[in-house]
């Protein structure tokens, strides 16, 4: 069953508001997070809808998108279950084939590991590698949510002309794990507030070699421990605050959301990654009948541009069509890159696929990744 449907709310307003603030102290200038304005965790169906999730999100995505969404959905119990997702870039198959062939040829002909590493590096010049996996376990009701997530992703790319003109191999990663707890309440029938406290382990390794360091590259690619060291995460605590205005009609709903992420900044370790405080806003429009609902949404994240990024990286827009709470179609533009996906809900089990793109660089086309996500989950 797809939660967070847009049937008219029949639940009783809950006027008890618990403010749960976990703030961290201000820390000296540190490394800025590479994830920037995207939520730490994005539910794959929300990704398919362009990542516009401030005014409507799916499952555990609510806890990271906007906790103020929790009170709206028609019933007290919203979701208890888990989800597993796996993704890779569209070119990954050819890269893995090249890597396998290189290893087999090296074993057969007695080539050195350095030579087989060089073959994979050659392929990386035309085919970047990006893959990851995420898991989530969550419980959500109208006023309370608890989630545990892990997310690991890795991006490997070779460029003919690096930052100073030499061919360069770059390895970037994202490792996020931890727990979040959200509280929310309706202040009035059409306005809700929510807060999320989070305790996370975060690591965002970044390593870049130019090709003059060929031995270093081969050692890195042949020794997984070297790579693992780069991914060692550091802990930190932070909080998000969200609000939602929800004007509900018989067939049309209008939503306006605002959220402050990482209130007061979130620092991980004494010299680790720092998530900056950002302010985001979103608009949503829903047309619904008896069995279907069409959601349209647009988010503008980091309105104050704390991460100093271009507008295209801060705009997320999309649509979701949900039929009988069993099948959903979504499409949108994630950072301007088309996205789409489909999801099937079969009572306790749901499965889906999403195709979307993400820009890892600072300008359009610098480091775009076109990704496929496959996911399944169990819950009710």
């Amino acid at each position: 069953m797809l939660p967070f449907s847009n049937k008219p709310s029949v639940g009783r307003n809950n006027r008890i508001l618990w403010l749960f603030g976990l703030l961290i102290g201000i820390c000296p200038e540190q490394v800025y997070a590479r994830k920037t304005v995207q939520p730490l965790y994005e539910e794959p169906f929300d990704l398919a809808a362009g990542g516009a999730s401030l005014t409507r999100a799916s499952l555990e995505g609510v806890l990271f998108a906007n906790p103020a969404l929790m009170p709206y959905g028609g019933k007290f119990h919203r979701w208890f279950g888990s989800q597993f997702s796996l993704w890779g870039n569209r070119e990954i198959q050819s890269l893995l084939k090249a890597s396998t062939k290189s290893s087999e040829a090296a074993s057969a002909e007695g080539e050195s590991s350095s030579d087989s590493g060089n073959d994979v590096v050659s392929k990386l010049f035309s085919t970047p590698f990006n893959a990851g996996v995420a898991t989530a376990l969550s419980y959500i009701n109208s006023n309370f949510g608890l989630g545990i997530i892990t997310k690991v992703s890795q991006d490997l790319e070779a460029k003919e002309y690096g930052a100073t003109g030499l061919p360069t191999v770059t390895l970037e990663g994202e490792v996020y794990a931890g727990a979040v707890m959200s509280l929310a309440t309706k202040v009035t029938r059409w306005f809700s507030l929510g807060v999320t406290a989070k305790y996370l382990y975060v690591s965002e390794p970044y390593t870049s070699f130019d090709l003059s360091q060929a031995e270093q590259i081969s050692a890195m690619m042949n020794d997984p421990n070297e790579i693992r060291k780069q991914f060692e995460p550091q802990p930190g605590m932070g909080a998000d605050v969200g609000m939602l205005f929800f004007f509900q009609g018989s067939t049309t709903d209008f939503r306006l959301a605002a959220k402050v992420d990482d209130v007061g900044d979130t620092q991980f370790g004494s010299d680790g990654v720092r998530f900056k405080q950002t302010v985001s806003g979103g608009l949503g429009l829903t047309f619904h009948g008896d069995v279907e609902a069409l959601h349209l949404a647009v988010d503008y994240r980091d309105i104050l541009n704390a991460y100093d990024e271009k507008p295209f990286k801060r705009i997320y827009t999309g649509a979701k069509l949900v039929i009988r709470e069993m099948i959903g179609f979504a499409a949108g533009y994630y950072q301007g890159i088309p996205s789409a996906g489909v999801r099937l809900d079969l009572w306790l089990l749901h499965v889906g696929v999403t195709a979307y793109g993400r820009e890892l660089g600072h300008y359009i086309g610098e480091k775009q990744r076109n990704l496929y996500v496959a996911y399944f989950g169990m819950g009710f």
Binding site: N118, S212, A340, G357
Partner: protein, 249 residues
């Protein structure tokens, strides 16, 4: 009554689905915000370089360096653009760990990754790349300074200077396919200016190699210069030809 109930609702759903499908299929993976993005000149230059649009990259980097002459990272990128336009395959050069320790001297190793019959424009571009790098103050090119541009600048200087020597030689004397050696008749047609260009390029590579990065290739260039000096002959041309005739490139 809701306009989207009943049969109207079914048609409406189908229309929306078709519209979504059409939009996604039409747009593919291209970022639709590109026409509205304002790129800085530096971003445009890097994008042109990555796309191997060397003419545009060179024009933009030249303008950027005029505005910020002490941005030596821009100078290294400009040199890469010149070298790219000259046809130098920098990826293969670095992947193959050019050194003076193989059976071939560095000229023989580098010759594989540069144009086999370069034209004058390509030689001019290589010279421009070298000149730009040599114009960087020595302190800014010292790899021990830990500045990324310093390491890159020095290594590029070694590689491009060696490449320039190899390209001049390729232009002068094509190799005999069966033997892989230079055509002796064409070697005799070398001008003094071409001989000087080859030897000066090797000297530049040798000098830059002494700073640290590209040391093997720089040492290889110095070895060639030493062996050329030991050859019999009254002029640099005679010595160089005698040396080349002792090598199988």
């Amino acid at each position: 009554m809701s306009p989207i109930l009943g049969w109207g609702s079914k048609i409406y759903r189908c229309a929306v689905l078709l519209a979504i499908a059409a939009m996604v299929v039409h747009c593919g993976t291209k970022n639709q915000a590109e026409p509205y993005e304002e790129k800085t000149n530096e971003e445009k230059a890097k994008q042109a370089l990555d796309a191997r649009e060397y003419d545009d990259a060179i024009t933009l980097y030249e303008e950027l360096i005029v505005a910020e002459p002490e941005r030596y990272d821009l100078v290294t990128l400009l040199s890469s653009a010149y070298a790219g336009r000259a046809g130098i395959d920098i990826v293969s050069l670095l992947k193959n760990s050019i050194s003076g320790s193989s059976d071939n001297d560095v000229l023989g190793q580098v010759a594989t990754f540069v144009p086999t019959e370069p034209n004058d424009a390509q030689l001019r571009d290589t010279s421009a790349a070298i000149a730009r790098l040599r114009a960087i103050p020595l302190a800014e090119r010292d790899p021990s300074s830990t500045k990324p541009a310093a390491i890159s600048a020095n290594l590029q200087l070694v590689l491009y200077a060696t490449a320039s020597a190899a390209m001049t030689l390729n232009q002068v004397a094509a190799k005999i396919p069966d033997t892989g050696s230079f055509d002796p008749e064409k070697l005799q047609n070398m001008s003094d200016a071409q001989v000087d260009a080859i030897l000066n390029s090797l000297a530049t590579a040798a000098e830059a190699g002494t700073l640290g990065t590209g040391q093997a290739a720089g040492q290889g260039a110095q070895d060639i210069l030493n062996k050329v000096a030991e050859q019999p002959g009254a002029t640099n041309k005679e010595k160089l030809i005698n040396y080349l005739q002792t090598q199988n490139h």
